[in-house]
């Protein structure tokens, strides 16, 4: 294994982006160390599946994300989504990748259950645009500063956010076979 770069002889043109294999062992530790140096007060852990993990508060998201992208090379946002933890509030999860070093990072942001607001990262990773819209649409998280925060999968004016745990679909059901009384 190790983090040797992928063979580039097939690549034509003047491409600068190298994609490294997933880092493990010392490379992973130094990756975690690099983040700790930037943010001594934040806790960075190494998960058993070789992902780095860190949690930030919503007000610190933007500065942290800026440094992560510009100085630590997390240029690739894999996935962005929200989770509803009911009374414990909501959570936004960012999955980031450093293509050059092969580092994978999961960044979680906890939000209050009432009126959840979080700054948008669309200007850092444009791919967050639709993914934030989806998180707003399905989980109901407000992304402040998003250029175009409207529903994307559900139709406009849909009541509620379907992936909230307390969401109840009120539409009539098509008749089904009756459930057995035993259950």
């Amino acid at each position: 294994m190790g983090s040797d770069p992928i063979e580039l002889d097939k690549v034509k043109g003047e491409i600068q982006v190298l994609v490294a294999r997933r880092a493990d062992g010392p490379a992973l530790t130094s990756g975690a160390q690099a983040i700790r140096e930037q943010f001594p007060d934040l806790e960075v852990s190494i998960r058993p599946d070789q992902w780095l993990e860190m949690a930030v508060t919503p007000d610190r998201l933007l500065p942290v994300a800026q440094v992560l992208r510009d100085q630590l090379g997390y240029t690739y946002l894999l996935s962005l989504t929200g989770v509803d933890w009911q009374e414990k509030g909501l959570q936004v999860v960012y999955h980031l990748q450093n293509l050059d070093k092969g580092l994978f990072l999961v960044l979680t942001v906890a939000l209050p259950a009432q009126d959840p607001h979080i700054p948008s990262v669309t200007h850092l990773w444009p791919t967050a645009n639709w993914q934030e819209r989806e998180a707003w649409d399905l989980v109901g998280i407000y992304f402040d500063g998003h250029p175009d925060l409207r529903r994307i999968l559900m139709k406009e004016g849909w009541p509620g956010h379907p992936l909230r745990k307390d969401y109840r679909d009120t539409r009539p059901l098509r008749e089904r076979l009756p459930k057995t009384e035993r259950r």
């Binding site: 089904r176 076979l177 009756p178 459930k179 057995t180 035993r182 259950r183």
Partner: protein
Amino acid sequence: MGVLKNVVNSVVGIAKGHKVTLKEMLRPTVTVMYPQERLDLPVGSRGIPVLLSDEQGNLLCTSCGVCERECPVQVIHIVSHRGEDKRKVLDEFDIDMSRCMFCGICAEVCAFGAIAMSDQYELDDFEQGDLIYHKDQLAAIGRTQRTPITNYGIKTEVGVLDQVRAGRASAAQTAAAPATSTPSSEGSRSE
């Protein structure tokens, strides 16, 4: 000269394509005239799930209900009661084929090998309600089993689904007649 070279390249590129189409035109067709000819499905190909019986013609199903629980779309409906020897007797076993997604999980989870995926797949019907297949229909298709269970599937006789569907009217009549099979309310589900 560049233009001329361009033109020649284009003509060659286009001519190659025409060669391919001409060659394929003279080849025999690869399609099958579907209703008359049918491709031979491999055993295990997932058509509708059916109920299997033993040599005496008794259903293998013990009405344990695991298929009903595991079905991702909840289309299986089982009603059973305790018989005199404390064993469960299967009264009803319905599968709503209009919702079934033929995933084959029911056949997979059945510990008794009582359900198998058949090779019957032509489910067209005039009434949505007719797409709910009952115990007797599923068992009738299962009794025409031609191959041992492979990959949770069996082959059945060609056209058995049509026969079962054609027999629906008469089956309903016999069910309405008194003193047939189980004492449960079979008539109530026949609608």
